[in-house]
């Protein structure tokens, strides 16, 4: 069968694709091609870069832990129960997706900062967020949580409710059923959501800067270190960027492979 689509249309779509690929791919090439890989690795060896990477790993691990621990039951609740005001709750939980990070930062300070609604109580408990590592975690958790929640909710929603019912009739209570049947059944979506949320937390910049500033070892995560060094030491910025690029690429590829395999 021959296509009746006019030739100019095909040409336009191919051109569009070529443009999109070039636009998205050239910056990646730029990061990797500007400086030889050997020099990139050696430039990571200065204390600032390593501190920033270490801080990024630590804070994102904590953020992700909080997101998964709190988000998993919340997502399951939203996916399986119908209740009044559900749409409102969902909207609130997804708001960080579209909220400008600067607004998120200001909001976090206004709520949990020293002069904020709960600020003095948190400060007394040693959990102040202004200019602290705790603030970095708060910013990452705030902006990254919807990425996990959306995926988890979709995964729980797609699960056959008869599986949980079967588990109950076999003697497992609600909590045991959740742990032994519901979570394993939704595992693919949960891992995907966690990977996406981790990627977002790793790249978090604006809200972190506003809430916690950019202090080496305390709040200067990898993206903030890139920002701090790019005007003075572009090669160091490139080296850190290459690391984040590799991590992001690996994450995305991992998710693709995982969800591709998990599909029926």
């Amino acid at each position: 069968m021959t296509s009746r689509r006019p030739g100019w249309f095909v040409a336009a779509t191919v051109l569009g694709l070529a443009f999109a690929l070039a636009f998205l791919f050239l910056p990646i090439v730029g990061i990797l091609a500007d400086v030889p890989p050997g020099e990139l690795v050696s430039r990571l060896d200065d204390g600032t870069s390593l501190d920033a990477l270490r801080l990024s790993l630590e804070t994102t691990a904590i953020s992700l832990g909080i997101i998964v621990a709190v988000g998993t039951p919340v997502a399951c609740l939203l996916a399986t129960r119908r209740f009044r005001g559900r749409a409102l709750v969902e909207t609130l939980l997804e708001l960080p997706l579209v909220l400008p990070p600067a607004v998120a930062g200001i909001g976090l300070l206004a709520a949990f900062g020293p002069q904020g609604l709960l600020g003095s109580a948190l400060d007394d408990a040693g959990l102040g967020i202004a200019l602290t590592t705790g603030g970095v975690v708060a910013a990452q958790t705030f902006v990254a949580s919807p990425f996990y929640l959306r995926q988890a909710q979709a995964a729980f929603g797609a699960l056959d409710p008869a599986l949980a019912e079967a588990s109950r009739t076999l003697g497992a209570g609600e909590a045991a059923t959740f742990g032994r049947v519901v979570v394993p059944g939704a595992a693919g979506g949960l891992v995907t959501g966690a990977a996406l949320a981790w990627g977002r937390a790793l790249g978090e910049f604006g809200a972190t800067l506003i809430v916690a500033g950019s202090f080496r070892g305390i709040s200067q995560t990898a993206p903030l270190a890139i920002f701090a060094s790019f005007s003075s030491d572009f090669t160091a910025a490139l080296a850190l960027s290459a690391v984040l690029l590799a991590v992001s690429g690996a994450l995305l590829l991992g998710v693709k492979l995982l969800t591709g395999e998990a599909a029926p």
């Binding site: 588990s167 109950r168 009739t169 003697g171 209570g173 049947v181 394993p184």
Partner: protein, 357 residues
């Protein structure tokens, strides 16, 4: 308080007004009826997966649900085995782990032994390590049954256990299920929309229509004297048992228990249950010479009952196995059929369904 399982419920689910009560002492009661009649709803109430507005569920003297007294045992404390319509096997667990799922309270070696023993009994020993997606439809059904029976439930509920199978697998699965249900030793409630299936698997059938039990009785009794035109249309299928062997022209001959032989276009050998719908059976007086006919099955019979149903009538025949014919009211009048009359029942081999027994 009665022994066995008692389920009584009055509730509204969507457009359905359910108000029904069923009791199963021992053996198997089939809940039969059209889609949307409330069969599955009643089953879910028994299992504790659905709570009715008003209801009562007792099992061997224990109260599982009593809305008047505020008692409602959660499903995990009822010990009620359920086979779901599409089996609901846990996709991330092997066949063995699915069966062992309900055995958490046993120590590990004992759990393993019981699961292995059940897999063996259901012919699944070879498939113990396979995930549900790699099992055939019949294997899935057997895993679901083994899983439901593993914790030694006090009642067994089956929701259309054969409907997810293709026609070829279904006959074999139905035979296995029948022998299993006979040895289950606990009250069994089986939901089906197929009267023939109910007649072959259950000791008694309760017909449910728009939320109400319209008639209850042994399958043969229901087919013989349906309480309403609805039950008459829904119940049919007389069951004749016998031994099948291949016959010429690709037919199967069945020597019936108690005498007589019939033919079927279905193939089978060994013990079988033959079913024929009442509206397929014609009746002629025995003292008149038979005219030429394409019907290959002819059985001498005695009229046992005549039950008028508007413009038609159900005629109960003894061949000596019970056989039901459905005739027009006019035919019954013309032939002056009455209990005790000698007649010949005829029907086509193509209308005779065989199921291995």
């Amino acid at each position: 308080m009665t022994s066995g399982l008692l389920v009584e419920a009055a509730t509204r689910v969507g457009a359905l007004e359910l108000a029904a009560r069923v009791e199963v002492e021992r053996g198997c009661l089939a809940l039969a009826g059209p889609s949307g009649a409330g069969k599955t709803t009643l089953l879910r109430i028994a299992a504790g997966l659905l709570r009715p507005a008003r209801g009562l569920v007792h099992c061997d003297g224990d109260v599982w649900l009593d809305t008047a007294a505020g008692a409602d045992l959660p499903p995990e404390r009822r010990r009620c085995g359920v086979v779901f319509q599409h089996y609901a096997l846990f996709p991330h667990l092997s066949a063995h782990d699915n069966v062992a799922y309900g055995l958490r309270r046993l120590p590990r070696p004992e759990r393993r032994r019981r699961a292995a023993e059940l897999l063996e009994r259901f012919g699944l020993a070879e498939r113990a390590g396979a995930r549900p997606r790699d099992l055939s439809g019949g294997e899935r059904q057997r895993v679901a049954l083994a899983r439901a029976l593993a914790p030694r439930p006090r009642a067994l509920l089956l929701d259309e256990p054969l409907s997810a199978l293709d026609a070829r697998t279904r006959a074999g699965a139905r035979r296995e299920l029948a022998s299993l249900l006979r040895g289950a030793g606990v009250p069994v409630l089986l939901v089906t929309h197929d009267f023939a299936e109910a007649a072959q698997l259950a000791d008694e059938v309760a017909v449910l229509d728009t939320g109400r039990i319209v008639q209850r009785g042994a399958p043969a009794a229901l087919a013989l004297s349906p309480a309403s035109a609805f039950v008459a249309d829904f119940t049919g299928a007389s069951v004749l048992v016998g031994m099948a062997r291949p016959a010429p022209d690709g037919l199967t001959a069945v020597a019936l228990e108690g005498g007589g032989e019939i033919a079927s276009t279905d193939s089978a050998t060994g013990p079988v249950a033959a079913t024929v719908d009442p509206w397929e059976v014609a009746v002629a007086p025995a003292d008149r010479p038979p005219g030429p006919t394409s019907a290959r099955n002819r059985l001498s019979a005695t009229v046992a009952t005549v039950t008028p149903l508007g413009n038609r009538a159900r005629v109960g025949l003894e061949t000596p196995q019970p056989l039901t014919a459905e005739l027009t009211g006019a035919a019954v009048r013309d032939l002056r059929l009455a209990p005790g009359d000698r007649v010949v029942a005829t029907w086509k081999a193509t209308a005779t369904r065989l199921v291995a027994r």
